[in-house]
Structure formats: structure tokens, C-alpha cells
């Protein structure tokens, strides 16, 4: 479910970076004073390892477990979100899994939506039946995360298909795959509940207000995304360049006066500019190699 670079408009990508930083920042603030670094570091490593498993599914292929809802259930939503964010950051900066401009959105989907929604659902349903609560948490968490990814991609004009395609495709596909996620989440939770019930006892109820705010943020974020899309453009830097007036006077004309010949095809102008630029970069690269 990792979104690569190029699928999202920068305004949408930027919005979700901001939202994610706010929630993660709050989570860090929330957990200050509790020496928990190793908890979400080691558990992040464990989640990473668990994500490496290839679960066989009917049809002959495999599905992978994401674990956001599980992280929320086992660690609480704040530590869970941080653990998942650690996993996603490593995947981006070590495996190039998921784009670097899309990291904010990927974190929003898999480290915040999946975790918090999973947590909310589990808490709401656990008094009825722990296993079913965990199943629904795992299933719905992943489905919603996928829907958000669908919204982010669909709303971005960078990606040619619109919401009416991306949301159903992502939603339905992951609603099906989500069954595996749900079953595994339920398996883990019921195992731990039976073997070490004390693990579930210690969770102090984190601030209701903050949870409410975050739930609201999640619910409203698609609207923010829509607004970001209206405000931003797919090509903000070019607009910036236009405003500064740079594009009006291509500088290469000055450097390569032969271009002022009016009969010359502008396309060739670009081509030659490209070649000249490349040669300059080549030269700079050689200098770089010398200094290394």
C-alpha cells in the first residue's frame, strides 16, 4: 500500500506530511517521560519482521500483514503510531519502498489511520468478544487505510484516474485482503490475551479529548485534501517561476546567441539546452569524483 513519488500532487503530499507530523509530534509529547524508545524501536523491528511473512491466500499468491491495528491494540495508539512510523521510515529510506514526498501520506494511512481506527474499534468491541473485536479492528483499519490512499491518489490530478476509480479499487481490494489481516490480528490478540493477560491490563486510558480530536482529524482529512487540491496546483514550482518572471526570458538565449535565429525550431532549442546542461553536469560530476 506504499504510495510512490509521482502519484500525489505536492499540495496533497504536503498536507498529509503536516497532519502526520502533528499527530506524531503529539504522540511523542504524550509519551514524554516514559522511557519507551526501546519499546517502539524493538516492536517496530518485530512488526517489520512480521511484515516479511508471505501468507498464502486462495488463488496461489501471498498477502502481507501490515500490523497497524495490532500495534495500536498492543501498545496503545500513540506508541503504536510511532512504531509504525518507524517501520515506514526505514522502508522508505533503506528499501525505497514508498516515495519520499509520499512518506507523509503513507504514514497517515498506515501509521495513523490504521493504528487509531484499529484501536478505537478494538476498544469499542472488546467487551463483547475480544477475537471478533481484534478481527474487525485489523480488517477495518487496513480497509480504511487503503481507502485513504485511494482518496489521496484519486484527488491528485497527477494521477489520471479520479476518485470514482481509485477509491473503489483500493477499498474493495483491501477489504478482501483485509480478511487475512483481521484473522492474524485476532490470532495474535487472542494468543496474548490467553497467555499473558497482564499485557492488556496496563493501558491507562489516554486522554479522551486528544483521541477525539485525532478521530475528527482523520474523519475530516479527506476534505482538507480536497481543499489542498483546489489551492495548490500540480505544478507549483513552475507557477513560482512564472511569478518571478524567469521563464519569460530563457537565459540560454543569452549564452548561446545562435539561438536568436528566428528560423530555428524551438524544440531544437530545448534539445541543445538539455545537451549543454548535461555537459555542464558531467563536468561538475568529474570535479566531484576528483574530490572524493
Amino acid at each position: 500500500m506504499h504510495i510512490p513519488d509521482g502519484y500525489l500532487d505536492l499540495s496533497v503530499a504536503g498536507l498529509f506530511y503536516i497532519l502526520s507530523i502533528v499527530v506524531l509530534g503529539y504522540s511523542i509529547y504524550r509519551l514524554r517521560g516514559q522511557k519507551l524508545t526501546s519499546l517502539f524501536g524493538i516492536v517496530a523491528a518485530a512488526i517489520f519482521a512480521a511484515q516479511m511473512l508471505n501468507w498464502p491466500i486462495p488463488g496461489g499468491t501471498s498477502a502481507h500483514f501490515v500490523g497497524g491495528a495490532l500495534a495500536g491494540i498492543l501498545l496503545g495508539p500513540y506508541a503504536g503510531a510511532l512504531a509504525m512510523a518507524v517501520v515506514l521510515t526505514i522502508q522508505c529510506l533503506v528499501f525505497a519502498d514508498g516515495g519520499i514526498t509520499a512518506l507523509g501520506a503513507n504514514i497517515w494511512n498506515m501509521a495513523i489511520v490504521d493504528v487509531f481506527v484499529g484501536y478505537y474499534i478494538y476498544k469499542a468491541l472488546e467487551r463483547f468478544n475480544r477475537s471478533i473485536a481484534a478481527f474487525v479492528a485489523g480488517w477495518l483499519g487496513i480497509t480504511l487505510a487503503a481507502i485513504f490512499a485511494g482518496i489521496e491518489i484519486g484527488i491528485s490530478s497527477s494521477f489520471g484516474y479520479g476518485l470514482t476509480v481509485t477509491v473503489p479499487v483500493m477499498g474493495v481490494w483491501h477489504a478482501i485482503l483485509g480478511i487475512v489481516e483481521g484473522v492474524i490480528t485476532a490470532g495474535v490478540v487472542s494468543y496474548i490475551a490467553a497467555a499473558r493477560p497482564d499485557v492488556f491490563e496496563q493501558k491507562a486510558a489516554p486522554g479522551k479529548l486528544a483521541l477525539g480530536v485525532i478521530a475528527a482529524m482523520i474523519a475530516v482529512s479527506p476534505l482538507f485534501a480536497y481543499a489542498a487540491e483546489l489551492v495548490g496546483y500540480a505544478e507549483p514550482l513552475e507557477n513560482a517561476a512564472e511569478i518571478i518572471g524567469l521563464e519569460e526570458n530563457p537565459i540560454y538565449e543569452g549564452l548561446l546567441p545562435s539561438y536568436t535565429l528566428p528560423s530555428l525550431d524551438p524544440y531544437i532549442g530545448t534539445l541543445i539546452a538539455g545537451v549543454v546542461g548535461t555537459v555542464i553536469v558531467l563536468g561538475l560530476g568529474v570535479i566531484l569524483a576528483r574530490y572524493a
Binding site: Y191, A194, A195, R196
Partner: protein, 238 residues
């Protein structure tokens, strides 16, 4: 030896781990029914890997492996699991049931033994292993020695034909050690025990396979191997 069935057969078997490290290299051996084999070598020589391969749990990355005459595949894998028992080095990897009783009955229940058969097997093995008093305890609360006994009991309870053990005396105190060795001595099937403790190997086995630090078989033979200091040094055991 010619009359006995060939239980496990390996031909130029190699195993490389996903992280690139070598498990074993070019191993060729035959194990016959009823043999008692000591797999000796220094730490890191590949003993654990070989145990997992011979048990049919890992598939060789090179070479051929036949267990009970056939290669391991979807059709015969459960049968192999039923007839081969593996005692892992770390009991914490192995024990997962809520109580010791459940641990012992885990495999027999899958085999759908009757209630009486289950009770009898439980009583019998609890007695031999002297674990009657901890039957209702959760495994993670046990001492190292108790865990190891429960682990071995959980495997012996379903009477496998072949028993493989990876460092069975690790994590274990002196008294438990003697007890375990006595029980293993009484085991009547094919026994393969991987250990770096030469005295344990000597006590339980009569054929020895020596692995060296290059992850290959250095030598195969009888008790004389254990006395051959030059050989053992070459293999990195001493």
C-alpha cells in the same frame, strides 16, 4: 546395516540462509533405522542447520534430500512431521501452549487420539520426566531445566520413529542433565543429536559425524573420532 531401512539420505546437500550466510556445504550422508548419531562440531559449523534439514523443515538450496525414501513435498509432509520429532535448542521458541498438559497433548490431539489414550500417554510421560507437579503451570513460568524436559516430553509423547535434538543439554542444570541423558539413552528409535559437548555425544551415540568450520563434513566414524585430537582441532572443536 544392509537390512535396515535408509531413513534419511542426503546427497551433496547445501543450505544458504537468506542473509547470505552458509548453513552447510556439500553434505552427503546416509542414516539408517535404529542408528544413534552424534553430530559434533564447533558452534557455527552448521549443526543446527543440518538438524533442520534432516528433519525436513528446511529445503536444501542445493543437492538432494530424501526422507523415508522420498523427497519432501505437499503429499508426504504431514506424515514426515508425524514420524520425525525435533527438539529445538531454545525451548522458548518451541513451547507456546497455556499449560504443560496442553503442551504434551498438542500433537496427539491433532492425531485425534481417544481420551483414554491421551490420559495414559500423559500420565506415563509425566512420570518418566518427573513433571507431574507442573502439569498445570504455564510453560513460560518454568525453570530452564523444566522447560527442556517439557519440550522433550512433548515430542516423545507421540512416539516418533526418528528423534533429532539440537544441543539438548544447553540451559540445563546438572541433575536435569543426567535425567535427560538417561531418558534419551532409553529411546528406541533412530537418534540424531547435535552437540558441541563431546561427552554427551559419546554417551548417547555410536556413530559420529564431525562438521568443521567450513560447514562441511570433516569426518564420519565411530568413537575413535572423539579421541582423535588432531582431527578435532582441525575441525575447530577444540
Amino acid at each position: 546395516m544392509g537390512d535396515n531401512l535408509k531413513v534419511i539420505e542426503a546427497e551433496n546437500v547445501s543450505y544458504n540462509y537468506p542473509d547470505g550466510s552458509t548453513g552447510v556445504r556439500d553434505v552427503t550422508l546416509e542414516i539408517f533405522e535404529g542408528e544413534r548419531i552424534g553430530l559434533v562440531g564447533a558452534n557455527g559449523s552448521g549443526k543446527s542447520t543440518l538438524i533442520l534439514l534432516l528433519a525436513g523443515l528446511l529445503k536444501p538450496t542445493k543437492g538432494n534430500l530424501r526422507i523415508f525414501g522420498k523427497e519432501v513435498d505437499k503429499k508426504n509432509v504431514e506424515d514426515i512431521r508425524r514420524r520425525i520429532g525435533v527438539v529445538f535448542q531454545n525451548p522458548d521458541d518451541f513451547l507456546f501452549n497455556p499449560t504443560v498438559r496442553d503442551e504434551l497433548l498438542y500433537v496427539p490431539r491433532q492425531l485425534e487420539w481417544g481420551e483414554e489414550e491421551l490420559e495414559e500417554a500423559l500420565r506415563y510421560h509425566a512420570e518418566i520426566f518427573r513433571i507431574e507437579h507442573i502439569l498445570d503451570k504455564p510453560p513460560f513460568r518454568l525453570s530452564g531445566g523444566e522447560k527442556k524436559k517439557v519440550e522433550i516430553a512433548s515430542v516423545l509423547v507421540y512416539r516418533p520413529e526418528v528423534l533429532l535434538l539440537d544441543e539438548p543439554t544447553a540451559y540445563v542444570d546438572g541433575k536435569t542433565r543426567r535425567h535427560i541423558l538417561k531418558i534419551l539413552d532409553d529411546f528406541e528409535g533412530t537418534l540424531i543429536i547435535a552437540t558441541h559437548e563431546l561427552d554427551v555425544a559419546e554417551k548417547l551415540a555410536d556413530k559420529f559425524i564431525l562438521l568443521n568450520l567450513d560447514h562441511r563434513i570433516e569426518a564420519v566414524g565411530g568413537k575413535e573420532i572423539l579421541k582423535n585430537e588432531e582431527l578435532l582441532e582441525r575441525a575447530g572443536v577444540i
